[in-house]
Symmetry: C2
Subunit: 495 residues, 2 copies
Amino acid sequence: MPVSTFILSSSLALQLVSGAAPVATKSAPTKPAQTAKAFTPPLAVAEKLVGPALTEGHSYARLAELTDGIGPRLSGSEGAAAAVQWALRSFKADGVKAWTEPVKVPRWVRGEERGEVLASERTRGHPLFLLALGGSPPTAPEGLTAEVVEVTSLEALAALGDGVKGKIVFFNHTMSVAADYGRFAGLRGRGPALAAKAGAAGALVRSLATASLRTPHTGSTRFEDEGPRIPAASITTEDADLLHRQLEKGAVRVKLVLGCSELPDADSHNVVAEIRGREKPQEIVLISAHLDSWDVGTGAHDDGAGVVMVMEAARLIAKLPQAPRRTVRVVLYMNEENGLRGGRAYAEAHAAELSRHVAAMEMDAGGGRPVGVSLRAGAGGQELLKPWLSPLVALGAANFSAREAGGADISPLLPARVPFFGVEVDSSRYFDVHHTHADTLDKVDPQDLARSTAATAWVTYALAESPATLVRPEAPAAPPGSAPVAAPQKASAGH
Amino acid sequence: MPVSTFILSSSLALQLVSGAAPVATKSAPTKPAQTAKAFTPPLAVAEKLVGPALTEGHSYARLAELTDGIGPRLSGSEGAAAAVQWALRSFKADGVKAWTEPVKVPRWVRGEERGEVLASERTRGHPLFLLALGGSPPTAPEGLTAEVVEVTSLEALAALGDGVKGKIVFFNHTMSVAADYGRFAGLRGRGPALAAKAGAAGALVRSLATASLRTPHTGSTRFEDEGPRIPAASITTEDADLLHRQLEKGAVRVKLVLGCSELPDADSHNVVAEIRGREKPQEIVLISAHLDSWDVGTGAHDDGAGVVMVMEAARLIAKLPQAPRRTVRVVLYMNEENGLRGGRAYAEAHAAELSRHVAAMEMDAGGGRPVGVSLRAGAGGQELLKPWLSPLVALGAANFSAREAGGADISPLLPARVPFFGVEVDSSRYFDVHHTHADTLDKVDPQDLARSTAATAWVTYALAESPATLVRPEAPAAPPGSAPVAAPQKASAGH
């Protein structure tokens, strides 16, 4: 549908911005004098950022270019390369200086894939709707046929010991709402590797989903470099329920054919852009999202929405009469989905200036409406940002979220104690489409996207313009390198 | 999930039945004498029908047998033949006499199928998620590649005239709620034939859907025996939106590969069962559903739910201490989905006794909860049934629906002026899964199914036991044979 039917009128948007400001500059003369130290954010700037973000439909139009025009963009694919070029062109069109930085990415490619519950005395058999998990090896060309054993936790898998030898381990769970994702994502991420170590022949994982119309959800699974690998796929909740019902009655055999393959690492890029600060250009506020997506759907929510939010924030900030005090840097990371190579490459390449990164954020929880602002910083962070929140009132986001800010791609910045911030969005329906063929443009509400874009632009400006900077947080407990990069709690939603 | 977690306790169910009766037999002594003519339905029988239907979970268990055990059952397929045998076995186990009656059915078989929006300067191309429509011919093996032209009505197609020659006609529409189905079903049913007559090379129809996760909805399309036929498929709402957006910007070319085929007609069967009436066995109350389903999903809502409702109604009526006054006949029709051959075969084979069919119904709108009772009869129908409604109060169905009763398979009984009745169910979410891979057991709520089963059993008993019968309605306006069998308004929901 045309964007114009969805966006707010320009005058309404400006009214919202002005009306939302509790510190109303125009009414000051008729009110008691304010305390001398009261901080007033530059509301004229808020009108220039929040207003156009709400009314111009630019972020949604750009999301259409990325999803309809380019489509899926798994690391190493032609789509990913096209997205890099698109981002460079777009930043140039916006008058924002941009460049690429090299990232060597894994190149996993999906092949033929199918599965079936074999006929038994209890069923004439059923097709399984599935997607190979990123990182899965293929089956033999003739497929893998084995008995299925169901577990609902990694502990239950461990308890079975040798009992899974030669079998297909079926990881079932009870995810029903978005907040369950973190609880069960380990079944997909680590389950197949652990099953392989125990001698299993294959793995099926119930999709991490909050809705399904026979809709499989893919995602990464991680095998150790030297450990055994087994074919692993996600199946739909419907098929998981069917397997469960059949297993209650007796033995179930499944045939699985996966033709996926791991090609040699490929050359790819992060796209980096920046608006140089007017007073303290050496101080950097980093805003980011990831340009890669899964190879199914068109990555509209994950993470096209995040990409266009931060690009639009940069475009609007670049158009201001004067740049903010500090440098705003945009990073569109490559390879969040299946490797995090872009996040690591940035942290390595920019190690020398991470002490000058005064704030960083990644938008990667879909294109929902904004619901609040999050922080991960030392003492006084909320006090610093609070006076800046008034333009967010009309967006429903003028409050601090209980969640800690974070993001998978910025997690490599944790050891350098970079303060994190974020605009939290409503992701209650995010896992309806996350990592599926259904993550397409129509699922993103243009108004919600416009609101989150507006909030992103304004909070970014606030941290780039604020007289003071956030206090750096304590370093994370575990030293870097002791474990795979651990995404903070928030980040798991974006994986 | 186990049925036991969903069904009501037996005592609660009986309490509901008794408590729901406005004519409370036990409290009569303490109340003023009732008028001499007040009719009291046999509430002891209601307890024996409604109670077990709510508490025993038998209809849901049987739906699991049909969907998990047998699966899809398109006319002419092995699944359809297996379903006939299953139905015979099940009636026998229930102590209900059953037999088969021959039906010659079309045998349409799905093959390889895929489609894509070809790359242009505006897009790198996209896969189309589609299902060939039942009745579609195949494309050439190398596929059909043509420009797309969008229309949103049959009138708009006619207005284009020669403009569709050699093109793929894309039928788009705005279905958003279940009630829209009737408005737009003609685009699928008749659109491709009309496009073919106008010289089109192929047809794509936006799925008739109220939800989508890249979920195509199949269904029948009808070509005239001597008219031209073109490959026709339904595409998902996501892909329809994409096509629409791309067409707004310029020409779009699509490649379509359909490998479906029409095999020679096959021998199949209706399954008929009956409980002979104790007083007027020659008078028949016909209750029905259709045993065939589409070849995708497992036909849980369409029409497994209807099948198990009427089978369970028969089982419970057969267990009563004495049979109802009239004969209750169950017909499980074959070929509702793509031919209506079963409905026509029954009407022909039983032509001599249709004047003794005192009522007929088909349950074919899914397994939702009951919301009311419908009729299509001469004067006085509601007055006849009204005294019987009290056991339906606790089920939320003790009212008359504004909809006229009907059903595709019983529509051939219209010329014989057979009165129709029905238990209307909540079908607001029916078109989320209708004719899709997602029409599976998990979509049917066991409690809703139990309630509609209970209502079906009771209303059937009421018409078989009531002292009087429904007055026969006027014959339909159009004489039979003047047009394809026109399903009444209600029936369209079940196609």
